[in-house]
Amino acid sequence: MIENLLFGFKGLWMGFAAITPQAVIMIIVGAVLIYLGVKKGFEPLLLLPIGFGCILVNIPLTGLMGQDGLLRHFYDFGIATEIFPCLIFVGIGAMTDFTPLLENPRIFLLGAAGQFGIFLTLLLALLLGFQPLEAVAVGIIGACDGPTSIFVTSRYAPHLLGQVSVAAYSYMALVPLIQPPIMRLLTSSRERAIPMRTTKPTVSKTALIIFPLAVTVITCIVAPMGTPLMGMIMLGNLMKESGVVKRLTDASANELTNIVTLLLGLTIGATMDGQAFLTPKTLLVLALGFLAICLDTAAGVMFGKILSWLSKGQVNPLIGAAGISAYPMSARVVQSEGSKYNKRSYLLMPAMAANTSGQIGSVMAAAIMLSVLQVMNLIK
């Protein structure tokens, strides 16, 4: 009788006996992510489920990421198949207004310049010993776009998924802290004070509807590997601009995005197993990701200065910093910085144009990278 009782109590003790130091550290990491989301307001929609998923997966003997585990099912369904990032992109397209970009098409080039950090970081990652596909996954943090980072990393470097996702979302939240010092370093106070004129609206409703169709066809012909992402974001935008499928647009922007965000975050957190996450490589990934975003900002501002020179002072170079995909946070940062030097300067709309071009630019950069990798026979 006593033996049976002791045997039963042993079942309750097994979990405590199986706790490892790595598990304890990762549970603390998960708690920190939740704290950053709840108390500090850093991307709470992602960091809270990621942090909780991290805690769940590091509690021993749960089997959540085992063969028939709950989180394994979510991962196999949504991450391994890349369905989750594509569905989020439908919602992003349904929430994005490309009107400022269409009003001022030359700002499109800032969206390209803002991706420079991806490729420089990729080169640096290779020099630091990462394998080619790992370096691509690290570089893509510079896209400043969670779904794009997850799309690339989950297929080509899944063992880095936790690190890349945490880096991408955390640094996106830190854009208001990362960008302003770089913007001030690379511009003079005279340049920062350049006002940008508001122009009369020139974009028709028809143009707004044709835009997503044209972008899809052109970009997917150039870089076919990016079709899932570019197609989904433009589908969302087409639904929004057509105005005839409001239910679908509202569902995409709200219910669909919210549900997928929850499952995506939880599943990303579930990849943060202590043994896989607590390696020297993780620190390198986090450091390189930070560098990628700094380089994006610097390249965007420098290109903004070139545009300013070419336009004889009509373009404020600060808007180049908004050429990353952190929409709409980066545009607000640019407006805030610009208004410090010229209270009459209204940079929000041109910065929004640069920001939305950065969204397209980041997907385009990822798509071109994948297409080049396919030609090199490094991926299927």
């Binding site: 390209a112 490729f119 028709s204 397209i360 071109i368 080049v372």
Partner: protein, 54 residues
């Protein structure tokens, strides 16, 4: 292909491809705006005209 060669290939083709693609998209936007210009709304002017006649 060595790592450095791979990295430079990705940098040149990736960044170059992105710049060229987005430049083409900016040209496409200008074309769309020319083909489908915004119609100026005449309703406020017409309403003012009607009121004057009264």
């Amino acid at each position: 292909m060595g790592k450095l060669e791979f990295g430079i290939t990705m940098l040149v083709s990736g960044m170059g491809g992105t710049l060229v693609s987005l430049y083409l998209l900016s040209l496409m936007i200008r074309l769309i705006k020319v083909a489908f210009p915004r119609q100026v709304e005449n309703k406020p002017a017409e309403a003012a005209g009607t009121e004057n006649k009264k």
